[in-house]
Point group: C2
Chain length 253, copies 2
């Protein structure tokens, strides 16, 4: 059930059986569900839980007074939002479901337990936080410096890798359950222009988009066009020195 999270963590450190058992305790509160468009948290709410996406996609967003809306990040299965958010009085943004969604609401107590009893999980959570921050920084670069077509391509490259990190999708195709309006709000463009950019990417034989799945026809080409460098995703198994060496360890990834 929480396998996406485990799959992601394994990119950092190999967990022990005990670690996995601990992580499964996150589900003790029961699985929650939301419909597309439904908000999980709203700006101004008092934060109580850490959220973990199990299935489906969610997004973080902010709305300006005059209605302009920006998607700040996407949450894929295995993504956690806002470790230690309890320290804040009010949410400064909202989180909503993009697709139909199942997720966990994890209490402070459960998070504390994870951190207390497993140094590996503690590190993996920090690593995840650092990677999330790096992604947000990369979005800053994306919006600040890249052209429309580069921006869309870059986002696609990122989501391709993040999708595979959590064990979804295959070599060339992966779930891409967002509509053009979502892409527009994430990249700071209009839907009209997103549409034209996607057509351009298709006509260059870089991508193919069918039935909520995206196929990258030319990873190399798309990467080059996007000026994409995956170093900010920190896939180097950086916690390998603290790997659990019990039989449950997975391959070298």
């Amino acid at each position: 059930m929480i396998t996406p999270l485990i799959k992601k963590f394994e990119w950092f450190v190999h967990l022990s059986d005990e670690d996995r058992r601990l992580l499964r305790a996150m589900a003790s509160g029961g699985v929650q569900h939301a419909l597309p468009g439904e908000d999980i948290v709203r700006e101004g709410d008092h934060p109580v839980f850490v959220y973990l996406v199990l299935d489906g996609w969610a997004h973080r967003y902010k709305v300006l007074e005059d209605g302009r809306r920006q998607i700040i990040s996407f949450f894929l299965p295995g993504d956690l939002c806002d470790l230690n958010i309890f320290l804040l009085k009010e949410m400064d943004h909202s989180i909503g479901a993009l697709t139909s969604l199942s997720y966990l609401r994890v209490t402070r107590q459960v998070m504390d337990t994870l951190v207390e009893f497993s140094p590996r999980i503690r590190s993996a959570l920090w690593w995840d936080t650092l990677v999330s921050a790096a992604i947000q920084r990369e979005w800053t670069v994306n919006l600040g410096q890249r052209s429309a077509i580069e921006r869309v391509s870059h986002l696609i490259c990122e989501l391709f890798i993040r999708t595979r990190m959590v064990g979804l999708g295959d070599d060339q195709t992966f779930p891409f359950p967002v509509i053009q309006a979502d892409l527009a709000e994430a990249t700071g463009m209009t839907t009209v222009h997103v549409n034209r950019v996607l057509q351009e990417l298709r006509s260059r034989n870089l991508i193919l988009f069918r039935r909520k799945r995206l196929r990258i026809l030319d990873v190399e080409g798309l990467t080059r066009l996007a000026l994409f460098n995956d170093n900010y995703l920190h896939l180097g198994r950086e916690g390998a020195h603290m790997d659990a060496d019990d039989r449950s360890a997975v391959g070298t990834g």
Copy 2:
């Protein structure tokens, strides 16, 4: 010496004398200096220290293959970069001095000590991390949704508050040691256009810029123009419940 950090933390929780003593231990490695334009850390480096800015401004930036450059964040006195960065193998961005700079390099061991011996400092560090993340998200919104003049205004509003948080500047005027090229790289604009936007802000009697200081003539007006909402800076003394109540507590801020 580390007063800016302490001043900032006091926006979250009142520290005890013991807390301050602990924080001063961060300076045990000696004060470092850098000249304007000098890099402190480069993309690709293996991260070893947490950095704390004492005096002057620094910036985090990334450079694309073709030379385009984006400033990702500004570091003011009292700003920490990259708590727990040790978990990563390589830096995914660079940090450089904007002005002449003094700063501390804090080792993992010293950070661990802070966190171990003071729950207040532990929380304050997390709070600071959460606020930094919120700032990065707000930059995403800024670049994605706001027009050029709104973007520049918003950045000015933010830096005004952050400056006052660490005890610099007065009611209307604060140090603003960045050149127009820096503003351009932070807002994803050209220097030419930054220049014209600043002229517009001056002609509307919103700001005044002299000798590396900025005076906001009409805070209300600038805030409105920028669609600025300071909630993401979380100035609500959110850790007040864990205030140290010894005599060293400062006013209510």
